[in-house]
Symmetry: D2
Subunit: 287 residues, 4 copies
Amino acid sequence: MQFAVIGGDNRQGFLVNLLTAKGYSVNTYGLEKFEHLESSQFSGSLSGAVSGADVIILPLPITRNGVTINAPFAYSDIYLSDVIALFKKNQLILGGKVPEYMFEAAATHDIKLYDYLNREEMSVLNAIPTAEGAIEIAMRETDKTIFGSSCLCIGYGRIGKALSSRLHALGANVTSSARKFSDIAWITSNGMNSVRTDALENELNKFDLIFNTVPHLIMDSKNLDKCKSTAVIIDLASAPGGVDYVYAHTKGLKALAALSLPGKVAPITAAEIMLGAIINMVYEYYD
Amino acid sequence: MQFAVIGGDNRQGFLVNLLTAKGYSVNTYGLEKFEHLESSQFSGSLSGAVSGADVIILPLPITRNGVTINAPFAYSDIYLSDVIALFKKNQLILGGKVPEYMFEAAATHDIKLYDYLNREEMSVLNAIPTAEGAIEIAMRETDKTIFGSSCLCIGYGRIGKALSSRLHALGANVTSSARKFSDIAWITSNGMNSVRTDALENELNKFDLIFNTVPHLIMDSKNLDKCKSTAVIIDLASAPGGVDYVYAHTKGLKALAALSLPGKVAPITAAEIMLGAIINMVYEYYD
Amino acid sequence: MQFAVIGGDNRQGFLVNLLTAKGYSVNTYGLEKFEHLESSQFSGSLSGAVSGADVIILPLPITRNGVTINAPFAYSDIYLSDVIALFKKNQLILGGKVPEYMFEAAATHDIKLYDYLNREEMSVLNAIPTAEGAIEIAMRETDKTIFGSSCLCIGYGRIGKALSSRLHALGANVTSSARKFSDIAWITSNGMNSVRTDALENELNKFDLIFNTVPHLIMDSKNLDKCKSTAVIIDLASAPGGVDYVYAHTKGLKALAALSLPGKVAPITAAEIMLGAIINMVYEYYD
Amino acid sequence: MQFAVIGGDNRQGFLVNLLTAKGYSVNTYGLEKFEHLESSQFSGSLSGAVSGADVIILPLPITRNGVTINAPFAYSDIYLSDVIALFKKNQLILGGKVPEYMFEAAATHDIKLYDYLNREEMSVLNAIPTAEGAIEIAMRETDKTIFGSSCLCIGYGRIGKALSSRLHALGANVTSSARKFSDIAWITSNGMNSVRTDALENELNKFDLIFNTVPHLIMDSKNLDKCKSTAVIIDLASAPGGVDYVYAHTKGLKALAALSLPGKVAPITAAEIMLGAIINMVYEYYD
């Protein structure tokens, strides 16, 4: 099986090495400035990289501007239209955060295009580097240990689960919040204190560390007023996030937005996770 | 708030005490032979117990024969039809494993009847006594410690999650199986080895203890042939279970069906879990 | 290296199989009725078993009466004096709970005799089956799950450490007691509640399960008076134990002595632990 | 009970607040520039601070030059001789890393002087912030998660125990090394892989992260040659440490010395731990 990796950040860069280490043949284009690859790994041209490949891996996100491939390690711009024009019907094209119009264009030309960001297993595993990144931030931004601190994790989805269990394992006194009774039951079963998200306000004054994973404005001015003045708030929810930063700032509360942690704190692990999802997609496709 | 508890096994019996300890007024009927209650807690008649109650709790299952209430601690039979005739529109009726025809009868008479067995939080929490019961059986039936033993948990639903994490915490070398890639990811994230359920056969020879939670015939003759001769198989799946017991027996493999563990190994905990679900149902009803 | 195993209970029996599985040549005598061995593994005579052996393994305890070897699986008595007479200076003799007069006799004849029960690593690892056995008893003797129960572990030695960490991992609310401030610090560091053993009395009314590991009369009548009437007390301390059983009985408190658990609940694991200590002793002797 | 805190770094600064929060009366001198105290908490003079105190707390270390008190937050030098001259026989003097000549001087004048650094419970608890600090460094210095990485912890003393259990809890594949068979047994019992420290060399090529806690040159050139080129070595052993840094540097191996972590990464926790030890010392003194 022949792979091509076109553009991308350090995750796609490390992915090339991981694929190679697994014994696959890999052509790359648009990663020339990534320092962990060797010159022999670079194709001289986009068409050279794409032409013989069975599976073509595009960046996450594929594009930031709708015109060029997201390729911070490339020497020059790579146009989406040029790339798309090279795809053949028998190739499997895998990209991250694929825009709707690309799916439509692919369908029109009978191109097999899939989004690896939609893979549930990738989201589950990415919660691990996100949780570790959040813990690293908490360690750095406080004068106390995680051990013995009172922590609140708002939301019991993938990140909430991965984060709260790790804080608990490090000896924090962890409370997790959720809306559903069944999630409250899981929080209990996993050994943590629980609170229903709509009853948070009565408990907010207990916490040294507050981690938000819910993409709604949970930590609004009313709730921020309930927090300890020494509390540190770490917001892991995607934009627009869950914290009224302006109000937090005026109160002198430390509140930090921490986004896209996997690629930042553990790019090799993020690449390994991406690799796993891609292998699963290839497996399902050819099965 | 006034409760009535009609019939039931030791779980309903302990439930009466838990409700009383929480300060609720409780009438009971059909629990007279349950030794942990006092005579003052018994109503003299069914209608006396039911009439003033806001919430009426029926057994799990409500009935085993479709005619009488499931009431092993009652002095005499309590007929379903007699009980139903007493319900009023303003009462909340909560039973377990309610048959479809009872729901229909209730709807006809505008009676509010709900099944607490359908509560997801109850199933989540009942997985804890089930997991502990399975561990107790495993401890009793083997000549080795859980620590250091190789365990397989087939299925990563509620019981699979609760059981595998406990075995892992006790120092077993745990492999969990699942069908979905996302569950495989959760198994990995939770620190255990994973195997896809359809690829089990290649690994079966590694395990000292095999716990099945999947209600399909996973451990058929072909798979039983792959097990160690000293393996112990504990089947937690509801009928018809997941093990070919006849074949296991002819091979001399130790295979045990373990059903309805919460009420057997930890009836007080089972009553507490039931209480939690009932409180949630009352909360939602009056909210 | 040639081993001989003379007498012993099921631990020595399983030990024969473990040594064989590791590729050692093993002669046995006095285990003839142990059903997990095959006839080819038995020497026809004591002298035949002992004569060619480099390492000779005796039971734990070696003797219960000072006259014969402890050999419940033997067809007839094996006299200590007969065995001792066969030992040669170049043989390594390993026994358990060796009486002082045997050490003296061995020294007189320049026989290398050592006690494997004195091996610290064996005591450390035997705490694991002891802890699991205690948990199995607790599961069997209560109507509640370990999860959520309030447990007291008196003493933070080897068994206290192994047991409390396992109860904690199963979701109990664990308090450990110790006398020394440094042990209190370890209890804290390991995530449990602590209490100084001399201040126990103020907290005793909180516990559902009380495990004693201290070989002094900690649970005397005064302390038993402080316990919940539903508390279950499991005494793991060697004779005379730490519980006033007569007083507990008159109060209707459930108190159980649980001794020599490794050989009872997990004889194969106990044999593996014994094997590890023996291998270490051989390693040190020949090193 | 009246306390005086003389000099010290941020740990002694936070200690003042912790003592105050516990309801004790506290005089301070030599902490004037510590920003978390208020002006009302400062005594105008050294003698004013010392004179009425029952317990006097000196820094850790008391002095760095043998002449002045270690007081980085003081406006001017505080001479050891001046401080000592003020002590009375009925006062309890507690300092950290007290030099031998100070103990001798104290004995001559019948002054009760004790070193809180010698308190075992303080060392045990300080291993927690040390472990967290080491984990924070590891997270920052690698491109992978702790989860899934292969970690070696050299030495199974206080820091080795606290660190390895936390890495294990975070999902690392942890190997701990020790010299004694009994510590190897504890490592096994705690669920980790073990290796004898003198047999390290055969396994060194497996590890992504190597933490040293042994104050001997374990990671010499011969052992560094065995490591992966991408390994990160974090040395927690006190001077002279356990790593040949010069050789590591010439090989391009990342090796970091991380000392005095509690005061750096978690000064409030370090102050709480110090407080605990001081309270214990006062308790023992007055008991």
